[in-house]
Amino acid sequence: MIPLSYYLILSAVLFTVGVIGVLVRRNAIVIFMSIELMLNAVNLSFVAISKHLDSLDGQIFVLFVMTVAAAEVAVGLAIIINLFRNKETVNVDEINIMKW
């Protein structure tokens, strides 16, 4: 039996990898993938905690999160494709008309 803390540490590491990906990478699609990694890290936490507590709430939550993530990907890719049509780039450094 693997203790709960192992799962939580793995999930925290994955989440951090996702956060670093969002902050460091410059390709909009890779940033988007990093966000998905963050969401799935959270899903791992939910499932592990749910198993540990012997309650179903966490597992149900994961299903909702996956649905929401799918919807977000659909909208996100549409926005990125539309941007690519207009500007022919997905590099977020070049998407900078507005700056303070």
Binding site: I35, S45, I49, I79, W100
Partner: protein, 484 residues
Amino acid sequence: MDLVIPKIDVVSLGPELILSIAAIFVLLVSVFLPKGRKDPAAYLSLLGIFFAFVSSIFLWGNPRYSFNNMILVDNFALFFNSIFLIAAGLSILMSVNYLEEQEMSHGEFYALILFATVGMMFMAAGSNLITIFLGLETMSISIYVLAGFFRRSNKSNESALKYLLLGAFSSAFLLYGIAMMYGATGTTDLKGISEYLSKAAYLKDPMLLAGMGLLLVGFGFKIASVPFHMWTPDVYEGAPTSITAFMSVGVKAAAFAAFVRVFLYSLWNLQPDWNHVLWILAVLTMTLGNVVAISQNNIKRMLAYSSIAHAGYIMIGMVASSELGTSGILFYMLAYAFMNLGAFGVIILYGRKGEENLDINDYSGMGFKYPGLALLMTVFMFSLAGIPPTAGFVGKFYIFSAAIKSGYIWLAIIGVMNSLVSVYYYLRITVMMYMKEPVKEFAGLKWSPSMAIALIIAVIGTLLIGIFPSPYLDLARQSVQLFM
């Protein structure tokens, strides 16, 4: 194994269901409308909003849980429902001509506004973190699309991409916070969390505190509080103006509704922990918003920073964490809805395709050319600055007095000093309009009945709440006593 079918109380979801049906209907109808003439879709969605409002009124005063304790329909949720419906209704009225002029008149626009409103309602009514998360995402995904609705405009695209990436990033933090809460307390139910936390022994659990911090980050992004505000000016500037108006009122109100519900109810026993953090965030948010707004030359950007500053004022109400503070938040949100939507309405009316007139210098001399419109803008600017007899003054008065009654005198003083700073940039527009010579030719306004109605409603709301605040304050008071 027994399968228990929960009691389904459809009536309690009345406003949400009516709006969803109206939105689907709008999508269907707009297919059959001729290209570029989609205004019947707008009137249909206004009808849906009207009926949702009526059904909210019928639910008033009868708080109940429904759908297995997933949602709580109390006066708090219904008060916020009315704010969302006002925001959606006025934004739709302002959009009709705006979209036609920009050659972007599509029925989906109105349907998406309605779906976003449904998401907001679920955020305000959610009594389980699952419902709040789903509501937040329903709202956000609709708004991502709406921010990028002008699909040939680079600015609109950029605004949608920034909002999407940062919004999804922030909801991942919120979600991680929910997971931590679930791990620490064993439930995602707000009432369950609050009951668990009433046993003081658990309050120092690091997982719980980490969860609270992550929830704070997630909500902080949505209400645009410093240091999570960086997306606000860019997104507000690039999005279609009527959507900027809708976002600045609706999204902020919905995020505050969930924020108040989670922090002032579920995490009440952790109040000593989060109160200091919120104190600092409120001061930073107000100060940064007001100081940076001074140097802005684009009026949409200026109003974006001003909306950051207003989020700071509202957070004072949360720091006060008393009944007066919470009712102050509700009252302020209502006042802010009217005055901010009105200001954006004037901006929409003053611009036209290819000549948006968004620079503050474009407003010089407007008072001589269009006295009526300039008068409206003056009322909204006075209200945003908090000058009596407008709604903004009364709202600030209640929030600051709540802070003083709870003993946060310095916070109130900083708040008042901040609103003094804000007077500078709000009145700069008024000065431009009345005391400067025009710098360019005016091409004439295109008044439309729907825009006129929207502006009249906004100005009446701003003045009425400002002159006779007590009935609205009573409604706000009735709305906060009902955390069951």
